[in-house]
């Protein structure tokens, strides 16, 4: 089996153009099974478009995306039941209770013994207090936990997270990160995480891909990036890349 086949996600020379705008400009990377990778970049760097192409929601202009061996978006229905995603920019129906929402998605994902899985997640993510409350009546932190529960319902092998802790207070954000870390380790899941939160990336990610204007500017472990740019935090590295400053130490 070659590297292409062993990678949970393989992106090769991926391009997405919208008329005159190039959102993603020839990026390539492979994510090993069980790895957790941060996708960093400023607004308009191409992170969301890249994730959308990995999910099969956007068709690439050229290049290929493969998830668990399936070419996206053409073969997406072979693997969508093995993937999931979470984003603060996507909601669940407000009038449905948490339990109703989760049971609908469990059925859509073909989860065996949905009631038991929902009970398990409710206990793990502390949802029991409000599980029979409509989604629209929840606080931002509670909604994030519900979204996280939805994204873990089918025990996904590939989990795509778009700013999973945006708008959360530090305590809740830290709590969410701990649950994500636990899930990944326990299930050997591959996680791709788009974030603006450098603390989050430093804490969770074993690899960081930094994008700028649709291209990959750098790609390495947080430790090596810090050393290469001669910086103490990922935020400083991010600012160096965003502002076009040179690396202090060549690779």
């Amino acid at each position: 089996m070659d590297a292409q086949n062993t990678a949970a996600i393989a992106v090769d020379r991926l391009v997405k153009r919208y008329k005159a705008t190039t959102a993603v400009d020839g990026i390539s990377f492979r994510l090993a099974t069980g790895s957790i990778t941060g996708l960093l970049g400023g607004n308009g760097a191409g992170k969301t478009t890249t994730i959308a192409m990995i999910m099969g929601l956007v068709t690439p202009t050229s290049g290929t995306v493969s998830v668990l061996g399936a070419a996206m978006p053409r073969e997406r229905y072979r693997v969508l039941h093995r993937m999931n995603f979470e984003s603060p920019y996507v909601d669940m129906p407000m009038r449905l209770t948490v339990r109703q929402n989760l049971s609908v998605f469990a059925q859509l994902y073909g989860v065996a013994d949905a009631a038991a899985r929902i009970a398990e997640l409710a206990a793990e993510l502390d949802l029991n207090e409000f599980i029979d409350r409509p989604n629209g009546k929840l606080s931002a932190g509670q909604k994030t936990r519900v979204s996280l529960a939805k994204s873990l319902l089918n025990k996904p092998e590939v989990l795509l997270l778009d700013e999973p802790t945006a708008s959360l207070d530090p305590d809740t954000a830290d709590w969410v990160r701990a649950r994500l870390e636990h899930y990944r380790i326990e299930n050997n899941a591959t996680v791709l995480l788009a974030s603006h939160n450098m603390t989050e990336v430093e804490r969770l990610c074993e690899r960081v891909i930094i994008m700028k204007r649709g291209r990959i500017e750098d790609d390495d472990t947080p430790e090596r990036l810090l050393a290469r740019y001669g910086r103490g935090t990922m935020e400083e590295v991010f600012l160096d890349v965003a502002r076009g400053r040179q690396r202090e130490v060549s690779p």
């Binding site: 929601l57 956007v58 229905y77 969508l80 407000m94 009038r95 059925q107 859509l108």
Partner: protein, 272 residues
């Protein structure tokens, strides 16, 4: 390429999940339920009283008892059928849930099937009480049409689904900017399908347009039944043939618009 690759694979369980999702929403919201019933009731009462008035003053209308009420009830099947389909679809956009749905294993064909089922459920909630009221107030029993009613209903609901499918494609491609079409597109059919008057009333060139639309055959068939007491099965078969073409064209349009939405990246951006 397999059915799994193309998204043509079919799961009754996933369709049931979506129907359950819409039923939870509908049953938890009394304004939504009220909305299904109140306008058809208002329409039926208005046209019913108008019919009573003209029947007292014109021999023809006295003979053609129930034509106006029949027209308004069948028009509501067409209009409310499409609206029920489109509103269920719009609920996903209003609640910003569309990306969750599109990212799930739910196939487009299953999504469409669940919307069709919900359009019938919503129609039943709205129309059954109204037909009972028509019986109480005006002595017009729509159910007494029996097999003819089944033929009328099948043809009208097929047309409403076709329009609903096409509008769903436009919404996917153009976002909420196309929302007003969901509410108004069916009114284009109101004058052209001759809901309240015979096709012969239209100018010559418009008659060709009218006869290309399946509901025209239904409304002509209803008038033949209520005025001449003849069930025109030929009209129903012609309507079915045109409906097959319309449904095929709408499904093709939906697939093309969905493909275009994936190209343009509009599945994630469902705002204006």
């Amino acid at each position: 390429m397999t059915a799994t690759d193309t998204g043509l694979e079919f799961s009754l369980s996933r369709i049931a999940a979506m129907v359950r999702r819409y039923w939870y929403l509908l049953s938890s919201s009394w304004p939504r339920l009220l909305d299904l019933i109140y306008w058809p009731t208002v329409q039926m009462l208005m046209w019913g009283f108008l019919q009573m008035y003209v029947a007292q003053n014109a021999g023809f209308f006295a003979r053609a008892g129930g034509v106006f009420i029949g027209s308004v009830l069948l028009w509501d099947i067409l209009f409310r059928g499409q609206l029920g389909f489109s509103i269920s679809f719009l609920e996903e956009m209003w609640s910003r849930n569309l990306a969750n749905i599109m990212m799930s294993p739910l196939r487009p064909v299953e999504f469409i099937a669940s919307l069709m089922i919900m359009s019938v459920v919503r129609l039943a909630i709205g129309m059954v009480p109204v037909t009972l009221l028509a019986m109480t107030f005006f002595g017009f029993n729509l159910w007494s049409l029996g097999f003819a009613l089944a033929a009328f209903f099948a043809n009208l609901i097929l047309t409403s689904w076709s329009i609903g499918i096409f509008v769903a494609g436009l919404l996917l491609r153009n976002g909420m900017g196309a929302e007003s079409l969901a509410w108004t597109i069916m009114f284009l059919f109101l004058p052209l399908t001759c809901v309240y008057y015979p096709v012969a009333v239209l100018p010559g060139f418009l008659q060709y347009v009218a006869w290309a639309l399946p509901p025209t055959y239904v409304f002509e068939g209803m008038r033949a039944l209520l005025i001449d007491h003849v069930f025109r099965s030929d009209l129903m078969l012609e309507a079915l043939a045109f409906n097959a073409v319309l449904f095929g064209a709408a499904s093709f349009g939906f697939v093309r618009l969905l493909h275009s939405a994936r190209n343009q990246g509009t599945l994630l951006q469902t705002g204006e």
